[in-house]
C-alpha cells in the first residue's frame, strides 16, 4: 500500500481539484456532503450555502488510455434556502446535510437532498433538442394571429446546446422537530428513511403529506435525555432492515416487520469499554459519527472519533475489525474538547469491492485501510501535489519522540483543515475527498 508492496497495491494520483484557490474560505462554499451516483458517472456535492453541484465524468477517450474521464460541472442549483422559524425565533440553516441518489430508471436522474428540516426530491434532466416550426407561435414565443396563418407545417425537433435542468419534484417538510442527520433510500426504491436526533421517519417517495415514525427515543422528560441518534441507514438488500447509531457508541438493527414502531431493536451492537482507556472523554469519543453498510450487506462500518470499526451483522458483541485513524490524538482529548474538535463528525466509506475503507482526519489527511493486507496509508489532499499522474506521497504523523524526516509532529497538525466527507466510486478506483471548500479527485495510476 505504501508503494513498497506487491502488485495489488493502489498507487493514488492527483486527478482534479474543484473550488476556490484562495485561503479565504467563504462560509457558503464549505462542502458539507459528497456522493457518487450508482454508476459513478455523476458526483454530487452539497455546501453550507444550500447549493448542489453535480459533476459528470467525461466519456472515456480511447486515445487517452492512461487516465479515466475527468469530472466537469454538469449542473448547479440552489437546493435549500435559509428559513426562519418564527415560533422559536431561530434560523433554519440551508446547509445540505446529505445527498442520496436514486437508481436511474429513465433518462432523468433523481436525488434526495436534505437540510436540517426539509428533504427535497430533485429531478435532473437533459434537454438537447427543441421544437421548431409551430404554426401558432413565433420562434420567440409570441403568439401569431390565427387569421394570418395561410399554410400549415409540422413542427420538428432540432438539436440545441445541451441544457441540464434541475427541478424540485417533491418537498418532504414539517416532519422533523430536531435536526436531520441522515437520509437513506430503501432497496425497494419506493421508500426512504430520514433520521433526526431523536426520531426516524419512513417516507414514500410519492407521498409528501405524511410519513411514518418508526423510531422515537425522545424521553417523556427531556431532562432525562442522555443519548441521541447520530446516523441511520437501510440495509442494501433487505428492505425491512435498517440500523441506527447513537451518541453512546451503540448500533441498533431494527426489523420493520416486527412492529410499527421499532423502538425495540432486533440486534444491539456494542463493544465493551476498555477500562484502561477510560476517561471523562470516553463517551464523547465513542459517539458514532457515521454508519455504512458494505455493498454486500454482510458487514457494516462505524466511525467514532478515533477509529473505524467493521461489524459482522451476525455478531453483536464486538466488531470484527478495528482500525485506528489517529490514535495520537488520544492524549490531546482535553484540548480537542476545549476547541470543540472532539465533536467533529467524520464520515467513512467502502470501496466497490468492500476490501478497502476510507475516512478523513485533520491536516487535510485522509486514511485508507486495506482489510485483506491489513496495510494502511495516510495521504494528503493539498494543492501542492497538483500534477496529474504524480503518485501521492504517503504521510506519517509522529506521535512522540524523535521526528523522522518527512514526518509531521502532532503539534504541527492543522486542526482547522479537516476532511469530514469522502466518497469512493462504486466501480473504479476513483475517490472524491472534500477539504473545507475544495473537492479533490484522485485516481489510481493506470499503466
Amino acid at each position: 500500500f505504501s508503494g513498497a508492496g506487491g502488485g495489488n497495491d493502489i498507487q493514488w494520483c492527483f486527478s482534479q481539484v474543484k473550488g476556490a484557490v484562495d485561503d479565504d474560505v467563504a462560509e457558503a462554499d464549505i462542502i458539507s456532503t459528497v456522493e457518487f451516483n450508482h454508476s459513478g458517472e455523476l458526483l454530487a456535492t452539497g455546501d453550507k450555502g444550500g447549493r448542489v453541484v453535480i459533476f459528470q465524468q467525461e466519456q472515456e477517450n480511447k486515445t487517452q488510455s492512461h487516465s479515466r474521464g475527468e469530472y466537469n460541472v454538469y449542473s448547479t442549483f440552489q437546493s435549500h434556502e435559509p428559513e426562519f422559524d418564527y415560533l422559536k425565533s431561530l434560523e433554519i440553516e440551508e446547509k445540505i446535510n446529505k445527498i442520496r441518489w436514486l437508481p436511474q430508471k429513465n433518462a432523468a436522474q433523481f436525488l434526495l437532498s436534505t437540510n436540517d428540516k426539509t428533504i427535497k426530491l430533485w429531478k435532473i434532466s437533459e434537454r438537447d433538442k427543441r421544437p421548431e416550426g409551430y404554426n401558432l407561435k413565433e420562434e420567440d414565443g409570441r403568439y401569431r394571429d390565427p387569421t394570418t396563418v395561410t399554410t400549415l407545417r409540422v413542427p420538428v425537433f432540432r438539436p440545441m446546446d445541451l441544457m441540464v435542468e434541475a427541478s424540485p419534484r417533491r418537498i418532504f417538510a414539517n416532519a422533523h422537530t430536531y435536526h436531520i442527520n441522515s437520509i437513506s433510500i430503501n432497496s425497494d426504491y419506493e421508500t426512504y428513511l430520514s433520521a433526526d436526533d431523536l426520531r426516524i421517519n419512513l417516507w414514500h417517495l410519492e407521498i409528501t403529506d405524511r410519513s411514518f415514525n418508526i423510531v422515537d427515543i425522545k424521553p417523556a422528560n427531556m431532562e432525562e435525555l442522555t443519548e441521541v441518534i447520530t446516523a441511520a441507514e437501510f440495509h442494501p438488500n433487505s428492505c425491512n432492515t435498517f440500523v441506527y447509531s447513537s451518541s453512546k457508541g451503540t448500533i441498533r438493527l431494527c426489523d420493520m416487520r416486527a412492529s410499527a414502531l421499532c423502538d425495540r431493536h432486533s440486534k444491539l451492537f456494542e463493544e465493551p469499554e476498555d477500562p484502561s482507556n477510560r476517561s471523562f472523554f470516553s463517551e464523547i469519543i465513542s459517539s458514532i459519527s457515521d454508519v455504512k453498510f458494505s455493498h454486500s450487506g454482510r458487514y457494516m462500518m462505524t466511525r467514532d472519533y478515533l477509529s473505524v470499526k467493521i461489524w459482522d451483522l451476525n455478531m453483536e458483541t464486538r466488531p470484527v475489525e478495528t482500525y485506528q485513524v489517529h490514535e495520537y490524538l488520544r492524549s490531546k482529548l482535553c484540548s480537542l474538547y476545549e476547541n470543540d474538535c472532539i465533536f467533529d463528525k467524520f464520515e467513512c466509506c467502502w470501496n466497490g469491492s468492500d476490501s478497502i475503507v476510507m475516512t478523513g482526519s485533520y491536516n487535510n489527511f485522509f486514511r485508507m485501510f486495506d482489510r485483506n493486507t491489513k496495510r494502511d496509508i495516510t495521504l494528503e489532499a493539498s494543492r501542492e501535489n497538483n500534477k496529474p499522474r504524480t503518485v501521492l506521497k504517503p504521510r506519517k504523523v509522529c506521535a512522540s519522540g524523535k521526528r523522522k524526516k518527512d514526518e509531521i509532529s502532532v503539534d504541527s497538525l492543522d486542526f482547522n483543515k479537516k476532511i469530514l466527507h469522502t466518497a469512493w466510486h462504486p466501480k473504479e478506483n476513483i475517490i472524491a475527498v472534500a477539504t473545507t471548500n475544495n473537492l479533490y479527485i484522485f485516481q489510481d495510476k493506470m499503466n
Partner: protein, 249 residues
Amino acid sequence: MFVRGLKRKCFDGEEDIDGTLAGIKAIPSYNLQRQSLLDMSLVKLQLCHMLVEPNLCRSVLIANTVRQIQEEMTQDGTWQMINTQSTGQASLDRLVSTDILCRSSREQAEGKHVAGYSTFNKDFEGDQAQDSSETMSTASSVQALRNLQSNVWEMENPQENKGNFQKSLDQIFETLENRSPNSVEDLFSEVDNSYYDLDTMLTGMMSNTKMGHCDGLETFSSPTTTTSNSNCKSDLNELDHIVEILVES
C-alpha cells in the same frame, strides 16, 4: 486509569489551616483540573444555546460529561470537601468561578435578586459567607445542569422555549453585567493555567515525551495564533458585544 492513589482522603473540619494547606499542596492538580473541566463544560453548555438552534448531540455529550464529573466528585467526597475546607486565594477563585457559572441559574430557581452578588465579594473573608458560598457552589452545579438541560433541550414547546431562551439570555447577561471585566478574565485565566496538565491527568495517559503542552495547545488554535482559550474568550467578547447593544437599547 486516573492516578487515584494521589488523591487525598476526606478531611474533617477540625484540621487547622496549615494542615489543610499542606494537604492541598499534596493534592495533584487532578481535582483542580477536574473542576476546570467542569467549569469549561458548563460554559460550553451556556454559550451554545445562545446562538442558532443548538446542536443537540453536542449538548447531550457535554451534559453527560458534566454529570460524570459531578458523580465522581460526589463519590469521593470532594463535593463535601469543598464545604469543609477553609483555604487561600487559589481555591476561593475556583469557588468564585464555579459560582459565577452556576449562580444565575440557582438565583433563578430560588427567585433571588441578583444584586446581592456584589456583597459576596466583600464577605469572602468571613468564614460564614465562605461556607454559604461554598454550599451554594455544590448545589448550584447540579441545579445549573438541570436548568441548562431544560433550557437547551426543550425545543418542542415554542412558547415555553422562547421563554426559556429569553430567561437563559437574561441569566448570562446578568452574570456579565455584575462582573467587573477583570474578574471575567480571571475566571478564564484560572481555567487556562491548568490546561497544560489537563490532557495528561484527565485522559489518564502520561506521555513519555516532555511535550510542551502549552505549545501543544497553541497549535490547536486558529491560524491567527490566538491562545487556546480564544474560543471561550471570543464567545465572551461576542457576549460583551451583545450586552453592550442591549444595554444601549
